[in-house]
Subunit: 335 residues, 2 copies
Amino acid sequence: MEEISLKTIANRLGISISTVSRALKNHPDIREETKKAVVQLAEELEYEPNHLAFQLLKRKSNAIGVIVPKISYPLYADAISGMEAVAEAEGYQLLICQSNEDYQKEIKQINSLIASRVSGIILSVSAHTTQYDHLLRIQSRNIPFVLFNRDCEQITCSKVLIDNHKAAFEAVRHLVSLGKQRIAFLGGPPHLQISQRREQGYRDALTWAGLVLNEELIQQVEFSKEVIMETISTLLNSPLPPDAILTYSDQIAQRALVMARQRGLRIPQDLALIGFNDEPVDELLEPSLSSIRQPAYEMGTEAARLIFKELNSAKFAYEKIILESRLMPRGSTMG
Amino acid sequence: MEEISLKTIANRLGISISTVSRALKNHPDIREETKKAVVQLAEELEYEPNHLAFQLLKRKSNAIGVIVPKISYPLYADAISGMEAVAEAEGYQLLICQSNEDYQKEIKQINSLIASRVSGIILSVSAHTTQYDHLLRIQSRNIPFVLFNRDCEQITCSKVLIDNHKAAFEAVRHLVSLGKQRIAFLGGPPHLQISQRREQGYRDALTWAGLVLNEELIQQVEFSKEVIMETISTLLNSPLPPDAILTYSDQIAQRALVMARQRGLRIPQDLALIGFNDEPVDELLEPSLSSIRQPAYEMGTEAARLIFKELNSAKFAYEKIILESRLMPRGSTMG
DNA sequence: AACGTTTTCGCAAACCTTTGCAGGAAAATC
DNA sequence: GATTTTCCTGCAAAGGTTTGCGAAAACGTT
């Protein structure tokens, strides 16, 4: 009924708490006979050591804090999956929070994680985070800290990213090689640096290809479904519509694909499409959607690994891991 | 540099720890002047209360343990999202584990959560869990415990489910109303009771409609993509192929849709399809996929709410919440 | 000045574990 | 029989917080 502690076992056996503790740890100082009795009673009572007390003693919890914009974005779900695998192997657990793209909530959650004395924090900044004092506070407390996917140039810390500039550049190059001339870019939330870098990659690729840079073909969308549809609509209705679109996310590209289909546009002849993230369903669409694959699960494992690396080495240099992304050409570009 | 505790503040101010504690809690016993000094110094030193110590004192952590088969299944990602929202409002955090459909891992994680003294556990059993002693152990410790989505009849506890029998029944009724005669069922992992119940709903609906029950049209698939494709292939290649398929998950139905399309079958005339889960992409497929919507996010919020309800009331009766599922008829059944 | 009341604060216990050190008892050695 | 050695076990501190209770100080009243 009540909580079983070392004390419970000690009292029942008429020995001291420290003996019980050592017996359970198979300490050589303890007589075999005593050990046996202790272990048996512990099993009988279903004793589980109290992590809380241990953590208090060690002044840190065996938990890694994770803050992502939204757990249900497939990329983050996969990344968390990867972190969980590494953490589990190290005997750690994950404390997972979602910022819901809200800057204030991000701050609150960081404070909460600090109060919980997590051993490390892994974070992808929200779309509305423009100040970074709260991130500096993590570092000033010497808590191992890793940024992944959504970077933040102003902060110097370990990072796990892909080369967004290069990924966008190559996507555009692919479109150019197919003879596309009026290539549009549907970017994500403007404050997100990964969105900015993808846009820059897009711009640089156009310049590289000697194509005209048309600002009307560059749009930014937030996450709402309605805004996305409206922006796509405007773009397709313009007097000189694009013949190809590169988007910030698959969510946008998938929607564009359906809307283009409904308008009777031939894909990819009239309009080619490339998305970002390579969600599993991309290959099920008609036509299947070309997309840039990001190693989401691996991002998670690498981020977690960096935390433990920092945790286990006295002096530690920040590490920046750039994982390979890969364009997956499919029906929406290759006819 | 070093850890800031109540003691640090107390020493600096030459007062006792308990006074500092009370001052920060705005206890009426403390003089305004003292409070002001304490609060100011606390802010200056960026004091964050140590949750670990508090939790040890209260003999429980402010965390809810969550075990799901896989975080990256959209249904679980959404459900976790819902739990997180409720937990956050209550000042709690989520400890998230994934069993990866592994029975042994599920046991290990439950023990680990118990050792962490979580305030409650929310669980969806793995596909390979056939014994339930580990779940009983949770209850014998009086830890609030909620099962969601994947039920387990042998355990009496609070639950958040949908009526899987009814959902499958109505899906079949829909297919029958379209004139379908040879309706197949592609079930999930055989040990999962939700899979069994969906199958039973399917069977009962056929009987109700006066249709022949053909065991060859009932197949079970595990989660691997290859097995799914092979099973679908066999089904479509049989001498008397089905004219409709109800599947355990959207993942299966989506794949069936693509394979049928590739074979030149007309959907829904030659083959109608209904999936389970109503994933967002269903409406983007060609034709769009009919599916049974499950309120995943709401399952999460309700499950979390039940934990807190149990946590906050001395005597508590188990509660079983059946949420409404809803058939979303689309192109794969409605031409 | 004596007493009562209120205001303000500190002591100490409790939560559970780990671990350095000391100490007791038995065994071994001289 | 005395001393050393070996083996086993217990004491106590530490980690940070909350809180009941007691006590000191300040104030008010007669």
